[in-house]
Structures are given as C-alpha cells and as structure tokens.
Symmetry: C2
Subunit: 404 residues, 2 copies
Amino acid sequence: MARIVQKYGGTSVGDVDRIKNVANRVKVTRDAGHEVVVVVSARAGVTNELIAKAKAVCALPSEREMDQLLAIGEQETIALTAMALHGLGVPAVSYTGAQAGIFTDKVHTKAKIRTIDAKPLEKDLSAGNVIIVAGFQGIDDDGQVTTLGRGGSDLTAIALAAAIKADKCEIYTDVDGVYTADPRVVKDARKLEEISYDEMLELASLGSKVMQTRSVEFAAKYGVVFEVRSSFNQNPGTIVKQEVAYMEKVVVRGVAVDKDQAKVVVSNVADKPGTAARVFRALADANINVDMIVQNVGRGGLANLTFTVPLSEKDKAVHALAPALKDVGGEASFDEKIAKLSVVGVGMRTHSGVAAALFDALAKVGANLELISTSEIKISVVISKDKADEAARAVHAAFGLEQA
Amino acid sequence: MARIVQKYGGTSVGDVDRIKNVANRVKVTRDAGHEVVVVVSARAGVTNELIAKAKAVCALPSEREMDQLLAIGEQETIALTAMALHGLGVPAVSYTGAQAGIFTDKVHTKAKIRTIDAKPLEKDLSAGNVIIVAGFQGIDDDGQVTTLGRGGSDLTAIALAAAIKADKCEIYTDVDGVYTADPRVVKDARKLEEISYDEMLELASLGSKVMQTRSVEFAAKYGVVFEVRSSFNQNPGTIVKQEVAYMEKVVVRGVAVDKDQAKVVVSNVADKPGTAARVFRALADANINVDMIVQNVGRGGLANLTFTVPLSEKDKAVHALAPALKDVGGEASFDEKIAKLSVVGVGMRTHSGVAAALFDALAKVGANLELISTSEIKISVVISKDKADEAARAVHAAFGLEQA
C-alpha cells in the first residue's frame, strides 16, 4: 500500500463527464490498495468567467474579494468529484483549502503556503476515505480566503504530498509529460522519462507551460518526487526528481520557447550608482518578474538597461517605470515582437561548446540575437518572435534531441 | 444613525446589473448615515444548476457534499456585491457564513442556527464598512459547511439582525410586500401595511411564498421587526411585528392558497392505541411535514387517517409509509389534485361566524370540502385544485378584503 497524491488540472475536470473520468481513475488507484488524496483545480474556463463578472461590477476589484470569489471554482469541483466517487461506491470527503488546513500568508491572489495542518485529513484518510482537496486556495490566520496564484493547484498537491509524506505525487494535466521541445512546433520532439528539478525549473520558468516554477522549487526543497502525466490516457509521464549522475550524460535536455515576453529598453539613463537599483526597485515593488537584464554604457556617460518582462505585465511595467524614469531620466521603449529561446541541461555544467553550437544553429536560420543570458545549466537568447518556431526546430536538431 | 440589515434574494442579485442595483440601494442607505449589513442569496437559478450537476455525477448525492457545493452560490454574490460597492467608492467586506460566525447544528441541507459569533463582523462594521454576508449557509463545530434549507437567507438576515441588535431588518424580494391574496389570482388583492408574526406565520406555512415559517418564528422569538419589500422599486412594503390591539379589528387579514400539497388517506388500519403514532413517527423520521390530520373510525373497528404532505415530499412519504403499513395493516392512497385554502387573521380569536362565512363562499362556487382544520387564527380547507383560484376570489370578496 502506497500513499498517493493525484492532482487533476482544469481541463481534466472540465465538465461532468471528465469529472466522472477522474473518479474512475481514482477508483482504479484505490482499488489497487492505495491511500489516495486528490487535488483538483477549478474547471477550465471558470476562473476567467468569474474574473469577467468581477470586472463587470468593478473596474479594479479588490484582491481580497477576488480571492473570496475565485475560491468557489475549486469548491465546485471538489464536491462534484467526491459525489462522482460516491456514485462509484468509493467513500470520499471533500476539503476546501481552509478545511485541509492549508495556511498561507496574507498576500491575496498570490499567497504563499506557510504551513499545513493535515490532522483532520489524515483522520479521514485512515478511515478509508479518498480525500478531495481544493487546489489553489488556502486560508490566512484571520480566516480570510487566499489564493496561491497561477499554478497554485500544483503547489497544493506538492505541498500536501510533503505534509502527509506521500510515496508518490502525480500531476495530471492535458499533456503527456515533459518534452524535449513543444511537440506542436517541433514534430520529432520526444517525451522525457525523467528530468531533474533544476532542469524542470529552468523549463518551467522558460514557458514550457507544464508547471510553474514555484511548485518545482517547493518539490525540490522538500524532495517530493512527482510525475507529470496525462489524465486522458494511460501513458507513463515524466518523473521529476533529484539530479542523479547519469543525467549529466545528456548535455542538452530540451529547448524551450517563450513568446509571452516583452523586451524593455530603458535608454539614456545616468550611468551612476543607484540608477539600476531605482529602476528595478520600482518594478519589484509592482511585483513584476524581470529577466535577462543587460546594461551597456552608451555615449556621454549615459547607459542603456535592457531586460524582459512577461507580456501580461507590460502595462503594469509602463506604469511602474514612469516615476522611476522621472527620477533617473531616460525613456523606456517596449518590443513585444520577441521570443525567448533557451536550451537547458544539467550536462552543461561539465560540457563546453554548447553556446557555440546554439549560436551556430540560430545563425543558420537567420535569427538575430538581441539578448543573451546564461546560467550553469541553461542558455537563453532573445530573438525575433517570427523566427522562434524555425529556430526551435533548428536547435532541437542541432543537439540531436530527437534521439533517446 | 440606525443599524440596518438588508436581505436581497436570488432574483435581486440575478445578474451583474442587478447586483449593481443592489449596491446602489445599499449606498443610499449608508449615505444617509446608517450602518448596513447586507445578506445576499445565490443568484436565481444557480442552486438548480448546481443540483443538476450534482445529479449528473451521482444519482443520490451526499448531503454533506451538496452543502459544500451549494455554498458557492452565495459566495459568488457576496464577493461581487462587495466589489460593486467598491466600484461606488463604498468600503465593503464580504463574509461567508463561516466567516460571519454563523454556527449551526450538523444537519446538512437543513441545518439550524445555534449561535452567531458576530465579533469580527462588528469590528469591520465599526470601522465604517458595509458588511456583505452569505445567506443560507453556516458552519458546524467541526468546520463543515452547512446550509439552512429553503428560505435560509431570510433566516440568516433575521438571526443576524437579532445578534447585532439591528434597529431594522429589510427583506428585499421580488414582491412588494404581503397581500390579502395572491394578486396574480385575485385582481383586487391589496398590500398590507403591517401584519402580526402569527398571521405571517400562518400565511407563510400556507404557501403565500413570501417567506418560510422558520424565519418568521425566529423573528417572533427574538422580537425582530422586519419589512418585506421589493428591490425593484421604492414602494413601502409590509412590516411584520408583534401583534398590537388594533390588529384585531380586522377579522380576516388574508386568504392563502397552497397548491403544492397532496392528500394522503391511510385506510383500514386497526383502531387501537399506537396506530397513529406508528404512522406519523415513520413520517417524522423521514422529516416529512404533515398537516391537517383527521381520523375517522370506519366499519369493523378499522380507522381511516387522512392528512396532507407537501407535494415535493410525496415520494418520500410513499417510501416512509411502507414499513409502517406492514406493521399496522391498511393501505395508503394519494391525491395530488387538491389545494389548501386558508383564511388568516388574529381577529378570529374574538369574532365568531368566520367558518360559516367561509363555507358559504366556498359552497357558492361549488367547492367541496374534503378536509377542514382550524387554529385560533386560521381556518384551512382542502378543496379540489381546479376550484382553487375561483374559490380564492370568492372568499376574498366575501370578507371584503379589497377594502382597507
């Protein structure tokens, strides 16, 4: 008997039939003698529906009320999933985030899990019940409903797996696992059997869209081994775990493309201490994720700062930069027609020549490098968005990723 | 400055525009310098949508999970109503039943309020906020979500009004107030300026559909004066309060017709002690509301028991009666083609001849009396359903109810 946490995303519980499908899968696992804790998201689309309603009553809805509103998405799916299991004769009990003892800080719409009090859940689990927990949500010390932000349901699953010392955590989604590249773009992309936390982290942060970085970070921190797999078939997925020696044999594990970025150039700012701090403090205070920062000194002691921000946060960035630019001078320009392409692999730590091979492949398809940034296990470049797909195919081929 | 509880029902918060309308009305009250606590229902239709989903995943959904599911209806409206107030520049905080400290017993889908801990709510109220509370829901001592059953939002409003010692409780609905008869049936029905708890109770229990009896009982018990009025216009409504002397001048306050009843005849049971107890214990254990019980002794020492049950509980009654009839003999027959017509008025206590006048009016339209039952302040009869509307008009006219 193992203790298994299964997480089903919004498309997996997208309608009544899919909820029944999830119940059937859960039943199979339980019938095999395992203890099962299921984490479910809101059904796909419901969050957007609720946000639209909120915007219809108020231009700028308060985040506290937004959390109160959004939490109902998962509350619907937990109850329906529990009922679907009852319909199959499987005892099941649903838990909201609050009921599951998922305590967070007070940062509405992007709260962090502080602690999990799993005692009531453990009791129901020991009594033979399947436990259905609402993902994405928690409660603060004052009883306020909080939500965990994007990817929050994965985080709930991984944090719960750590809290109840689960033997396995399965993240069910609408993709089969983690691929060497986006299969819709690169035809011969290959599913990976396993991948290290570090590689998964880089891929997650680079827009591979399978999972959010924070969930992977959390799993790495607490050593939660998890599997990313599809709820629509029985294919094995990709296991994400601590790096092991043989993983280094592969230099590049995958190539990722992120088209949801904008390039920001802040030009002609004074080249003196404190300028960059002023600019990036303003962005940080607005909770904007900045990446790929490069600074050049231009003419006359004036400097240019270049960096990327998520496309969705561009307007917020424009707003946040305005007062900072008043202080330090200079002007900001934005370019949305860019993409970030990255190659990732723990093998890079011990292999050289990866950058050269990457730039070579990009040059062959005529992709101009606008920004370059590197870490121990990845190299990222910003190129023109309209070259991104062709570039991904070229790089995938250059590193022979189609072969196991 | 007064402290006012306002309750808005499902049609009043039926869509985004109606929620904005509610916010505007609340703002007017607050701008007049009052403290306002708003109780909202789920938007009209949402409860049925959720029940349909529940039935689609499970033939007989568990009541615990049903409560978990249904509670989201009000959670949506509280958040949207708070946001709509924010949009008007009015500070507002939403409360789920649990957050509002509405503690209930553990009877899922028809829980009773045990106590209200209004301290957090009082604090937010003192700070100048409008408080928006989810009607219909509460929490038990174990943190389980419970719902209060039909009319639960009215009960939340009246119980809260008692708990926070409100000066006024306004129940906003889609009707203007309490009428002398259903205005859709009786053209010259008249809105009552005020009515006593006892009269309102009888009318509520008799299908006038404005409010459930339990809310009125609760109001009477704690002396909460409330007004039933429309959220769609500015007309004054009907004030429901303790009986006062002048109310007795009117003999009959109104006439109510309930077409949602079935007549049950349990015939040929042994006429001995314990028989009726066995039958009605079975119905009580199944939580079925029985009314208008009559017993006749027939031939050979066998008795007939006749009574009414709500039409919606007929199937449950069939089920509940079966084992009892095995014990005491006899058989049950059901008649759905009946209606209950009642006249109500505290003046009946001191006036005679009401029954005669009622039976007279009914005889004139050819309505046969199948059952008769009386209390201090009402007389009810069961007649054929197809005579009900005509009978209501005749009785209304006979007692001169069209005149103030």
